[in-house]
């Protein structure tokens, strides 16, 4: 009765409406869930919004969460442009923090703050870049699957930081409590307008990434490599070099995000330092269509959702699991809108008539999740138009 058909590309304002409607749908869905669980949806949502934006304190918290998310997403977006599926953000954040902490621990306490911060930033970038380059090199030279490789690198990084936390860098001054010594005091990022200056870094990076992709030769090469490696080869682009440069930049920026979080708000390296930013940032980069300015905005919204969820747990005693479900529903609806941007569902009017074939113009829409009619139809549709 229903079938899924490919849709023409929508104009920008229409796709914006689809996206907003989807998010609204997610909110309604979450509201129903809240009501079923016996809470007042209106009160919950207003608490969520007030918790995220309602006071100076709330805004500070929201932005503090948003900064590392935005920087991480900016970094990942560079790799995604090349269709290099870097899902190793977690590991790259951790390694950025490890390298930055190492610098802080090994510099004399007399080092001026500005120099220490710059050194730690460089170290953070380096750490992330190395952690991304390892799978990058294997991908470029031996065609390994970077998705799995970057993912596995996350667990290695996590184990390394656990080892540092419990064994190697365990602070003897903490009286048996497993803890790494905090970074030096002068390395704490200064605060401007109530938030540490990481927000300036994030904004500058957003502009720089936008500029890199749109206005530089390297950015152009990154885009060409991402769209079609044969074309890049044909045009004389050194695909390996471009990809490794892009991957190093991607990992480096993600590592820098870790360093910013470390010096801006956490001050101490621990296994929990990422707060899942490496994964959340994937969603942000994707929701933003890999566009740098949009990433900055979406990061704030996602951060608000996270911050607001914490507030409703405190204020309304909503269990943390429910808060997580609310977040999940809204995010899922937002991502689900991508489906409705590309496909439409057609209702066949005469009931009893058999299902129509779920494809148009020869393009198999297997991504739609629709079950193909039969393997045979699938193949013939493909070949028939070839």
């Amino acid at each position: 009765m229903f079938r899924i058909a490919k849709k023409d590309e929508l104009p920008k304002w229409k796709s914006l409406i689809v996206r907003l409607t989807s998010i609204l749908f997610g909110i309604v869905l979450a509201g129903i869930l809240i009501a079923v669980l016996g809470y007042n949806p209106m009160a919950t949502f207003s608490a969520l919004v007030i918790g995220a934006f309602g006071s100076v304190n709330a805004l500070t918290n929201t932005f503090t969460i948003a900064i590392p998310l935005a920087i991480t997403a900016l970094g990942l977006a560079i790799a995604f442009r090349m269709k290099f599926w870097n899902i190793g953000g977690e590991g790259q954040i951790i390694m950025g923090c490890v390298f930055a902490t190492f610098v802080s621990h090994n510099m004399p306490e007399t080092t001026p703050g500005i120099i220490l911060i710059l050194l730690m930033g460089a170290a953070g970038f380096l750490g992330g870049a190395i952690w991304a380059l390892i799978p990058g090199i294997f991908r470029v030279f031996s065609r390994t699957n970077e998705t799995l490789f970057t993912l596995m690198m996350n667990y290695i990084a996590l184990s390394i930081v656990q080892f540092l936390h419990y064994v190697l860098w365990r602070d003897p001054a903490s009286k048996g409590f497993p803890k790494i010594k905090a970074i030096q005091l002068q390395a704490h990022l200064p605060v401007l307008f109530g938030v540490h200056i990481g927000w300036i870094v994030a904004l500058v990076l957003a502009v720089m990434v936008f500029f890199l992709i749109r206005k530089t030769k390297l950015g152009y090469e990154i885009r060409v490599v991402g769209e079609s490696e044969p074309t890049a080869n044909y045009a004389g682009i050194n695909v390996k070099k471009v990809m490794l440069t892009g991957v190093a930049l991607s990992g480096g920026i993600v590592g820098l995000a870790g360093m910013i979080k470390l010096t801006g708000s956490v001050y101490t390296l621990s296994p929990a330092i990422t707060g899942n930013a490496g994964f959340t940032a994937i969603v942000i980069a994707w929701l933003s269509g890999l566009s740098a300015p949009v990433i900055a905005l979406v990061s704030i919204l996602i951060a608000a959702l996270e911050q607001g969820s914490q507030i409703i747990q405190i204020k309304l005693q909503v269990p943390s699991a429910v808060a997580a479900i609310i977040q999940g529903l809204i995010l899922m609806s937002a991502l689900g809108s991508e489906f409705f941007l590309r496909y439409r569902i057609v209702y066949a009017k005469q009931p009893g008539k058999p299902r129509a074939i779920k494809r148009t113009a020869g393009k198999p829409d297997n991504e739609s999740g629709g079950k193909p009619e039969s393997a045979e139809a699938d193949r013939s549709a493909l070949k028939g138009d070839a």
Binding site: K217, V224, Y234, R355, E376, A377, A381, D385, A386
Partner: protein
């Protein structure tokens, strides 16, 4: 079975008022198409005229928005390809859907009822069946070892073996030599004698005239008219197909008489990743101001030849001289840096020649940006250039910021050709430049290539349509399985002779002498 009903007017199938839209595009618009029992019926039309859509509806892949299909006089609704197959309709696509590692018999028997496959019995019955239609196949030969022509035979046989009485062939001759085409035609005529119906999709008019009984012309999704082939001529058909009168002759300016050699290839050899010899010992010379055609069956090494010359694929051994400089083993960027002005228009335009999702301006930048100084892109000049190319080549586009993948095939080819010609190359390599283009666009491309030739550009033209190669090129190099079987003067050779060379016969064995060999 053997009763002769070829003159019977009763239809094998009849499609009435078929309409099908994809979004805002009306691919089929009230099409009427009727095929009789025991006839070979050509379906003629340019790309995008709705042939594929109509046949996909007949085979049950698409459902029509409106219209009816009758098979053997009773109304049928096809929900899936299996319904169409059950009505005796068999499709043979350009890409035969065969399991390569299995034998012919196993492929043909696949889909038969029963659980246990008696190989010997199947093999014998398939052999007997194939002889009835005058087809020669070895049922126990694995498909992977077969030539394209043999694979096609297997695909056709598979359909007939499963009871197809109506066979639809989608451009079956595109991949065959003239000799193989003759064989195929004989098979199809045999089928006609047996009362089967054949739908023959093609845009090669001479084949339609030679083989078919009737022809239905489609244009812009509408069925224009059905003719009895004997009562019409190719000019009338082209006019109906294109919608206006078209001059079908191709110009051939006299090649530059005293121009120097541009490209000299010596003993070029190449193995692919799997260790197969794709090019063996290729040697030829291409002068400035001439068009050298390359003929050969698909996959005879044309792609590899182009890509090794362009530096995209590293060759194993040999030498490639461009105006006296050896460019063997150099990467595309190195070749550009050496000041060699060569343009290569690859077969896969959207996958290799262009970036499909980028706009026209960004695609023209592809060959320009590396000449720009500094790390930043300069786009202003490219925009002016893009506007100029769009105007000069009459590219039909809403603007230079339109993604190239949304353009039609002809316009896509014009974008890439415009970009390359604008680099003022001394050597132009084109692989299947008119593949998928309609007649009008094809002739525009021929004219553009001739214009380059007159400017003393050396043109290497990889083609598939022998008629075009014979009319457009000055000399033709014929390739077979990675080897050169001969280089001939295009003005003094016949299609049949080229066909023999395409299937591996050396030139000297055909003519018994070097009378026709050009000095190279």
């Amino acid at each position: 079975m053997s009763e002769n009903i070829s003159s019977s007017p009763n239809p094998a199938f009849s499609m009435q008022g078929i309409s099908k839209s994809f979004g805002s595009v009306r691919a089929n618009d009230n099409i009427h198409f009727q095929v009789r029992k025991g006839e070979i019926h050509a379906l003629l039309g340019e790309n995008g005229s709705g042939k594929s859509t109509l046949m996909n509806i007949l085979s049950g892949i698409y459902k029509p928005d409106a219209g009816t299909i009758e098979v053997d006089g009773s109304l049928r609704v096809f929900h899936a390809p299996k319904d169409s197959i059950a009505c005796g309709i068999g499709m043979v696509y350009q890409h035969f859907m065969l399991a390569e590692p299995l034998t012919a018999a196993e492929n043909i028997a696949a889909g038969s009822s029963g659980i246990i496959l008696n190989r010997k019995k199947e093999s014998a019955s398939i052999r007997a069946f194939s002889e009835k239609y005058g087809m020669e196949i070895d049922p126990d030969k694995p498909v992977v070892q077969m030539s394209v022509s043999e694979k096609q035979t297997v695909a056709i046989l598979k359909m007939l073996y499963h009871g197809a009485r109506i066979l639809v062939l989608d451009e079956p001759t595109a991949v065959l030599t003239p000799q193989e085409i003759k064989k195929l035609f004989n098979v199809l005529r045999k089928m006609r004698e047996n009362g089967c119906s054949v739908v023959f999709i093609s845009h090669k008019l001479n084949e339609v005239m030679e083989l078919c009984d009737r022809v239905t012309v489609l244009r812009k999704g509408q069925s224009i008219k059905t003719y009895v082939v004997e009562d019409t001529c190719s000019y009338e058909l082209v006019e109906k197909m294109v919608g206006r009168k078209v001059d079908l002759s191709i110009d051939r300016p006299v090649p530059c008489p005293d121009c120097k050699d541009c490209l000299v290839v010596e003993n070029l050899s190449l193995k692919n990743d799997e260790g197969f010899q794709k090019l063996s010992d290729i040697s030829f010379t291409l002068r400035h101001g001439e068009i050298l055609g390359v003929a050969g069956l698909a996959g005879s090494g044309q792609k590899e030849l182009c890509e090794t010359i362009a530096g995209i694929m590293p060759a194993e051994k040999g030498r490639i001289f461009f105006d006296g400089t050896n460019i063997f083993g150099k990467s595309p960027r190195e070749i550009i840096r050496m000041g060699v002005s060569m343009s290569f228009i690859p077969e896969d335009r959207l996958g290799m020649g262009l970036v499909a999702s980028m706009d026209i301006a960004d695609n023209i930048l592809l060959k320009d940006y590396s000449f720009q100084k500094g790390p930043f892109l300069k786009t202003a000049a490219v925009r002016v250039k893009a506007e100029r190319i769009v105007k000069e080549l009459e590219i039909n586009t809403p603007g230079i910021f339109h993604p190239v993948r949304k353009l039609s095939g002809g316009n896509i080819q014009k974008v890439i050709l415009g970009r390359e010609i604008n680099l003022k190359p001394k050597l132009l390599i084109t692989a299947y430049a008119v593949r998928g283009l309609d007649i009008n666009s094809s002739y525009t491309i021929y004219n553009l290539l001739n214009a380059q030739k007159v400017k003393d550009v050396a043109v290497l033209y990889i083609g598939e349509d022998l008629d075009v190669l014979l009319e457009l090129c000055d000399r033709i190099m014929v390739m077979c399985a990675g080897k050169v079987t001969g280089i001939v003067d295009a003005r003094a050779i016949t299609k049949e002779e080229i066909g023999q060379m395409m299937s591996g016969t050396k030139l000297k064995d055909i003519k018994g002498g070097a009378g026709n060999v050009s000095n190279c």
